[in-house]
């Protein structure tokens, strides 16, 4: 390597590495340290207490409830969002494939593409407040009112421990699907149309076309979407914080508690920043484990076209 190019490489990399070190690596390191202290977050003083916070974590019922809820979110949200996203994208992209003999979308595909994207433009706080009203437990709630028309008794969506968490998961799925519809339709658009024509000539059914051709050809996109959705689902903080109660109780009775919200309550309600940081570190490990596992599980040969 010539001296000139070495200088170029070093100078090009120095700034990003420095920024990464200061803004990412150093806070991580500090977090690990804070999680080993009893810091209450209000004064500069803190005492090193070793692994006490982690011992307490392992024995903390609410922590395990939160972990379980996060795990549910990581399994349900990506699965449901990807399934719905692929379904809608396929409908928009090739819905009328049979009827008209070509890869054409349903009537008004452009409109659907825009409409599906609407929820994604709203902030989670707005969506949370909106759905708190939709889920109003009395018969005047939007959802209960609609169910009332078909004779179903009002459901206490956010007040009953059986329905509260699923109701919140549904909101996140509603919020996320639109973006993935757009992502998958654009991925599908990049598949050459003649492949589909050839398949049709060979008598492939729509079902076969989807499973044997469309899905494998956009698998990279689906995989990235799945990992991203999973990491996103590990959060759940904002929606639980907005929808459970003023100040985010994670209620009723911890039935919607997730790690992010539990961390928040520990830090800002109980002023136990050391313990909260230990929860944060646990959340980080969970995120890393999920990313590693999902990348391994979804590894699949790339199809060239």
């Amino acid at each position: 390597m010539r001296a000139g190019s070495l200088r170029f490489v070093v100078s090009a990399l120095a700034v990003p590495i420095l920024l990464y070190g200061v803004l990412v690596i150093s806070p991580y390191a500090q977090s690990f340290y804070i999680s080993l202290t009893d810091w209450n977050g209000l004064s500069p003083e803190r005492t090193f207490i070793g692994l006490d916070n982690y011992v307490r974590l392992v024995r903390d019922d609410v922590f395990w409830i939160s972990v379980w809820h996060n795990v549910i979110a990581v399994l349900v949200i990506p699965a449901a969002t990807l399934a719905l996203g692929l379904f809608f994208a396929t409908m928009i992209h090739v819905g009328r494939y049979r009827a008209r003999g070509g890869g054409r979308g349903v009537r008004g595909a452009a409109v659907y593409r825009i409409v599906y994207f609407f929820p994604h433009l709203l902030s989670i706080a707005v969506v949370g407040v909106l759905f708190s009203t939709v889920y109003d437990p009395t018969e005047s709630g939007l959802l209960n009112g609609a169910l009332g028309l078909v004779g179903i008794e009002p459901v206490n969506w956010l007040g009953s421990r059986d329905t509260a968490y699923p109701a919140m998961l549904a909101v996140i799925i509603w919020l996320s699907v639109g973006f993935y519809v757009i992502l998958f339709t654009s991925a599908m658009s990049s598949i050459p149309a003649d492949i589909f024509e050839a398949a049709r000539l060979d008598g492939a059914s729509r079902w076969q076309t989807f499973w044997r051709m469309t899905l494998p050809l956009i698998w990279d996109t689906v995989q990235v979407a799945g990992v991203y959705l999973g990491i996103h689902a590990l959060d759940m903080f904002a929606i639980v914080n907005v929808m459970s109660a003023a100040g985010g109780s994670g209620g009723p009775d911890n039935a919607t508690q997730v790690l992010g919200n539990y961390l928040y309550l520990t830090a800002f309600q109980n002023s136990e920043f050391g313990y909260a940081t230990a929860i944060g570190v646990a959340l980080l490990l969970l995120t890393l484990a999920f990313a590693a596992a999902s990348l391994r599980l979804t590894r699949r040969e790339r199809v060239e076209f």
Binding site: S43, P44, P154, N156, G159, P252, Q269, G280
Partner: protein
């Protein structure tokens, strides 16, 4: 001049940043978290005494920074008090911030030592006082309490306050916080509705159940609702009834985390009484899924007859309450015929804790602002704006609506039997778990025995946790 800075300031950004940092356990700004910079103590002013216009010896030229919780009461009352401060100290530059979620706003400032001179630490997301007290980060307010009251005819501030106010702001006997408002807790109902239907407020629980049955049978209203997603609201009448039944020992047991504090007979009896509401279907359908705003609005619109709340309700509902609704407060019914305290005994205590940070530049200026706010003039101004009493005793609130009038009547009727408890302020993990258990009790998921076991386990856990500072008198 006051300079309201409601807009997003650099501090707010820093606050949010540090908050997010801690939140993710990783955040990019948490660099602030470990960079400790302690300023070398406050600058305690030489407390000149004797000057009647400036008994606290406030340095006239020091700026004053006030951070005021801007919730249901707004912050105009504080801005008005700052204007009086400005008249007395024309050279002082006054900075006023009204905001919510003060914990997140102020937490990084306490870490860095760059703190305001006086804080109204109230509302959801307020700073926890106990750790600040443990760290020695708050001023002892004794100088303020011993100073002559503003408009108090020579009495000290301490002597003009309602009974209990000083104790309620004390930790280990030292007054670190001063609760500015005085709120009474009980059951609210519409007096015009009761008049129209010919009902009277039940004074025993048996009568309450009879009235609830009548309401259920003869109207389309539900007898009870409560702020479902914040079950602490429905826990309050439960504890109140237990205290009235068992007397002040019940309070002592709760506050001192005693081994049978939640499993004692009065507590169990009260839980069983409340559970009757669940079993007999007297609670509005869907209540446990309602926010406090939803529940209170439904109640004001006549969907339920009783709601438990503190006396801020009238101010909080504002225009939502229909004309002629005439809300009034009453202490919950007596559990038994031989309750230790009379039915009229009610929970009354200070709220909206004001604190002065120990590291403030102008701590005596902060106290002076509190002294101004506790004058009869400022108290009347506050009550006019909020329909809520301040902690000042015996002032004429002038403009009082039905709610406030009933609050004053209830306090008079309760007299020396007025009571309060502290465990909730001292031990937030216990309050959280007790509220959660009560949520489950009031949806019928657990029975009173299970409820008392859960609450007792939470109290035991706090008692046995050496890392939690204890404030009771054991």
């Amino acid at each position: 001049m006051t300079h309201p800075t409601h807009a997003l300031s650099r501090r707010t950004l820093l606050g949010i940043g540090a908050g997010l940092g801690a939140l993710a356990g990783t955040g990019f700004l948490s660099g602030c978290a470990t960079s400790s910079s302690t300023r070398d103590g406050a600058s305690p002013s030489p407390r000149a005494t004797g000057d009647p216009d400036n008994p606290l010896g406030v340095p006239a030229d020091l700026p004053l920074e006030a951070v005021i919780f801007k919730g249901g009461y707004g912050d105009q009352y504080a801005i008005d008090a700052e204007a009086i401060y400005q008249q007395r100290f024309p050279q002082a530059e006054i900075q006023h911030t009204g905001g919510q979620e003060l914990g997140k706003l102020l937490q990084p400032r306490f870490v860095s030592g760059d703190v305001p001179d006086v804080i109204c630490n109230a509302g959801a997301g307020a700073l926890m006082l106990a750790p600040l007290v443990e760290n020695g980060q708050l001023m002892d307010l004794t100088p303020l309490l011993d100073a002559p009251a503003d408009g108090g005819d020579g009495k000290t501030v301490r002597d003009t306050l309602l009974p209990g106010i000083v104790e309620q702001g004390s930790f280990g006997g030292v007054p670190y916080a001063l609760n500015y408002t005085f709120t009474v807790h009980g059951l609210y109902y519409s007096s015009s509705l009761f008049e129209e239907r010919g009902w009277t407020f039940p004074t025993t629980w048996a009568e309450m159940l009879d009235l609830c049955q009548e309401i259920k049978d003869s109207t389309d209203m539900a007898p009870w609702t409560y702020q479902g997603k914040n079950p602490g609201y429905i826990l309050t009448p439960l504890v109140m009834m237990a205290i009235k039944a068992g007397g002040r020992e019940v309070i002592e047991a709760l506050d001192n985390l005693e081994p049978d504090s939640w499993t004692s007979e009065p507590m169990l009896e009260s839980a069983r009484a409340m559970y009757q509401l669940v079993e007999r279907g007297f609670i509005m359908q869907g209540t446990s899924g309602l926010t406090h705003t939803q529940a209170q609005t439904y109640w004001a619109n006549g969907r339920a007859v009783f709601i438990p709340c503190g006396s801020w309700l009238e101010s909080e509902l504002g225009d939502v309450t229909p004309d002629g609704f005439d809300m009034v407060i009453a202490s919950p019914p007596s559990l038994t015929d031989d309750d230790a305290l009379p039915q009229a005994a009610i929970r009354g205590m200070g709220n909206e804790a004001f604190i002065v940070p120990a590291q403030a530049e102008n701590p005596y200026g902060g106290m002076e602002l509190l002294r101004i706010m506790l004058s009869p003039t400022s108290s009347q101004n506050f009550t006019r704006q909020t329909q809520t009493l301040t902690s000042l005793a015996d002032y004429d609130p002038q403009s009082a609506g039905t709610g406030l009038t009933s609050v004053r009547d209830a306090l008079t009727a309760s007299g020396d039997d007025t009571f309060y408890w502290r465990y909730g302020t001292w031990y937030s993990p216990l309050q959280t778990e007790a509220a959660n258990a009560t949520s489950a009790l009031m949806t019928g998921e657990i029975d009173p025995d299970e409820w008392s076991r859960r609450c007792q386990a939470a109290a035991d856990a706090v008692r046995n946790d050496d890392s939690i500072e204890k404030y009771g008198d054991q």
